[in-house]
Every structure is written in C-alpha cells, then in structure tokens.
Amino acid sequence: MNGSQIKVMRALMPTGELHFGVSATVMKASDANPVVEIKSFKLTTGE
C-alpha cells in the first residue's frame, strides 16, 4: 500500500488469447446500487 508491495506469488499463466477487465461487486443484493467509479486504466509491457 502507498507504493509498497502486498504480495509476490507464482502462478501458471493460461494459454491462448488472454484479456483483462474490471469489476464491482457487492456481497448481498439490496435496494442500494453502489457504484464503483473507474477513473483510469493503463497497461504497460513492464520491464
């Protein structure tokens, strides 16, 4: 947090064409309609 690392893990990358996305989830349905506001998204190649 605030620039510090949370976790480093190893995982097997799936094969084939891969995509990315964003989501909003609420734990239980209700009459409220909470909204997550995505302000920007950026993807770079990394090092």
Binding site: M1, N2, G3, S4, Q5, I6, K7, V8, M9, R10, A11, L12, M13, P14, T15, G16, E17, L18, H19, F20, G21, V22, S23, A24, T25, V26, M27, K28, A29, S30, D31, A32, N33, P34, V35, V36, E37, I38, K39, S40, F41, K42, L43, T44, T45, G46, E47
Partner: protein, 162 residues
Amino acid sequence: MLRILFAAATAVALCAPAAFACEGQTGKVIFEDKFTDDTGGWTLGAPDSEIKNGSLLLHANAHGVDEKNTSSVAINVTFPAGDGDYCMEFVLPKQVAPDNDVGAGLHFWISDASRFSFMIWTNKVTTLSKFSGGKWDQIFYEKQAAIKLEPNAVNSLRVVAK
C-alpha cells in the same frame, strides 16, 4: 511457472492523486483509457456499466434486491494481453451496510476457462482469487489499513504479471 507481483497504492483526491497514481509502471504503453469516450473496447451494458463524465461506472447491484448476480464486470475485448504491468485508479463507494461490503477488482489473465481477480473491499480487505472449473478459489486475504474510503478518495491498484 511465472512470477506475479501485486502492489497497490492509494491517494486522496485532495492531495494531487495524479502524482501518486500508478507510480512506477514500466515499459511501453500497450493500452491506456481515461474514459473520455467509449472507444476503449470494453464490454459495456446499461444499467450495469456505462462510461459517463470521464469515468467507467460499474453498478454492482443495478437490478435491486432480487438480483442474483451482484457483480458488474467490464472486459476489454479489443486489446488482448497476458504479461504486463496493469494499473487502475478508482473511487470506492460507501459500504451498503456494516455487513454488506462493496469491492472493486482488476481481472487479468482472462481466458475462456479461467481468470484471476485482485479485489479491494470497503472493509479494508484485499483478496486475490482464481476462477477455474466453474468456481472461484481465494488465494489470499489480507487487511490493508491504507485503503481510502473517504468520499472521492482515489485508490490505485497495480498488478505486475510476468
């Protein structure tokens, strides 16, 4: 085996969030969207998701109390990507109730059969989960006091997958 590094940072809007946002992303830009229009290639569908006023809005519970799927997901289908340095900036809403939290997630390595999701929740928890075989498995769960919940506070979430 590949190595994934997860990092997240938060910034309060009043403290020049752009200066902190996604700091340290490296390499060439593959994709960037500030949501000034709907040309970014995201799967959108009202009333669950829309681009409005310079943001991608995800309505987690747009269909009310009888809704069975309490998630809204937008996938980018025009820029395929696997390895990379992903970062998004977002504002979390208030939790619906003390026992009903809201989360924002970054999904990556999405294939027909599986995907990973890194989430930040209004109870100040982060989770990493993997979907495969038709179900979600939680890989880790961790409290993060630095998650900002103040109105209009901008959180930044970064995942380096390589």
